[in-house]
Amino acid sequence: MAKLELKYGNHACAEAAVLAGCRFYAGYPITPSSEIAEKMAELLPKVGGAFIQMEDEIAAMGAIVGASFAGAKAMTATSGPGFSLKQENLGYAFMTEAPCVVVDVQRGGPSTGLPTQIGQQEIMQSLWGTHGDKLIPVFYPGNVQEIMVETIRAFNWAERLRTPVVLLLDEVLGHMRETVDMEQFTPDRIEVWNRKKPEVPPEEYLPYKPGEDDVPAIADYGTPGYRGHATGLHHDYTGFPTTDPEMCQELIERLIRKVKRAQPELEKNEEYMLDDAEVAIVAFGTTARAARTAVQLAREKGIKAGLLRVVTIWPSPEETLNRLAKHVKAILVPELNMGQYVLEVERCAKGEAPVYRLNRANGKIIYPGEILEKVEEIVKGGK
């Protein structure tokens, strides 16, 4: 029996973070993410956690990396302009393997853009915003219930892989109130993972020596006897800088490999009416909800449409998208940007099916009827 409760999207994110074990939040308020900070300020002191409002987004990102080194599950939340500011320390978190969750409630960009309106313009930035080669898991839920599920999943993967994880939301999701089945989030129902601890005595301890899963067991700073060093420079197993080419190559390959090898487990999509579909819509977040309704409208008109809703945006569901392209006559990618994820879909489709776009970046959502129109156009052999 479902126990339905109405929850505000941003508050659901904060509540789920605490359920996942988050005990440190640093942030700088920005629309449309501020309610996450607001809720964390209320919740964290009650569970012995700490909330701090920093002087800016850069410092907030730095603070959560520090808290993470000290052993806390840590989170920050922001929107486009703040997400840009966090990029440098996000790269540092990736390089130093500091588990943390960065929430980006997307609004219209670029720059300060459209603060109170929806955008999906950080699809590429979420992975490529910070410089250097990397692979960061990026999750994008589609409703308030899933905001809770994905927030918990983000913390779990951050811990297991010792990596920052980006959780993408959008203005509509963040600012929406929606029923959530709270039965799904009782302590015995949710799974919480924690980072591994070193299994060797202090004298044999090498913080950045990876285990078989390519993830190092770094001791929380302050653990008696275990001394650590972290740097954004290329480093060896001790954590101290090195320019040894073999070590440097091995480091960067491992950092990417540890996420890549988890891809089959990380991958999460929702397939809707794809079995006999001729036109597949690939969408995420709020746009995927319009797409799902569009599929129903198309089916009513006898058009075989289906939806692949991508939840794990990065690493992308490469194989799944390729198989999809072989299975359908055409793919449509509606997104609230000028064409970002469509590039990845095209890459994965490898020419097996034509890939069409439906783009908008004016702060307005795409309505089901508009997607339907585009699907009809594709079926008729138009563009």
Binding site: N143, T179, K364, P368, G369
Partner: protein
């Protein structure tokens, strides 16, 4: 079943709070609900609205497109709805910035304030329910601010017109929702306001 409601009124009339209470009541009733509003509630001027989608299954598209009910709290809001132009929500926004206008389904409930809204809609097309909502709040309860909750009482009763004599959401669910949604010291006032709304709603239905 998908049921869409819009509460629309002038700034400060509590349209968004009414939408929140309505969505909470739906959840209490065991229904799925999604409540959206254009961000940046109008506090001092302009028209403000809150939308609710209610369903007996998880909701796909969370915004409204085809309204089953509209609660109209002011003339300004009525004019905006009727003119067929996009509703202008924020004094700083141009008309083009506002959400696209949604359709009001034929047969939809249109709940209007008897004194505040001059309504000349075709009663064959819509189920128009006109009741002294603001007057009940101001004179009966001494607090004009609770007119939004009085309106919800009228709405609760009026849905019997659409669901074979049964309301969409029970009185109990609304009363529980009020307990969850308003500050403690105002709970009793709001519950009374809701029940007064139910009363004038019944009277209005008898008249219609």
């Amino acid at each position: 079943m998908r049921y869409e409601v819009r509460v629309i009124g002038s700034a400060g009339q509590g349209s968004i709070l009414a939408a929140v209470v309505l969505a909470t009541a739906a959840a209490e009733e065991g229904l799925w609900a999604a409540q959206t509003a254009t961000y940046g509630a109008a506090m001092r001027s302009g028209v403000s609205l809150g939308d609710v989608v209610i369903s007996d299954e998880p909701i796909d598209f969370p915004k409204t497109t085809e309204l089953d009910a509209v609660i109209i709290q002011s003339q300004e809001a009525y004019d905006d709805m009727i003119k067929g132009k996009p509703v202008r929500l924020d004094p700083e926004c141009s008309e083009n910035d506002a959400d696209v206008l949604v359709n009001v389904k034929p047969g939809a409930l249109v709940i209007v304030d008897e004194d505040l809204v001059q309504c000349d809609l075709d009663c064959n097309m819509y189920r128009v329910v006109s009741a002294p909502i603001a007057r009940t709040a101001a004179e009966g309860l001494g607090r004009r601010q609770v007119m939004n909750i009085v309106a919800l009482g009228v709405f609760q009763v009026a849905t019997t017109l659409q669901f074979d004599g049964k309301p969409l959401i029970s009185e109990e669910s609304f009363l529980k929702a009020i307990e969850k949604s308003v500050p403690k010291r105002f709970i009793d006032l709001n519950k009374t306001a809701f029940l007064e709304g139910v009363k004038i709603g019944k009277e209005a239905l008898q008249k219609a």
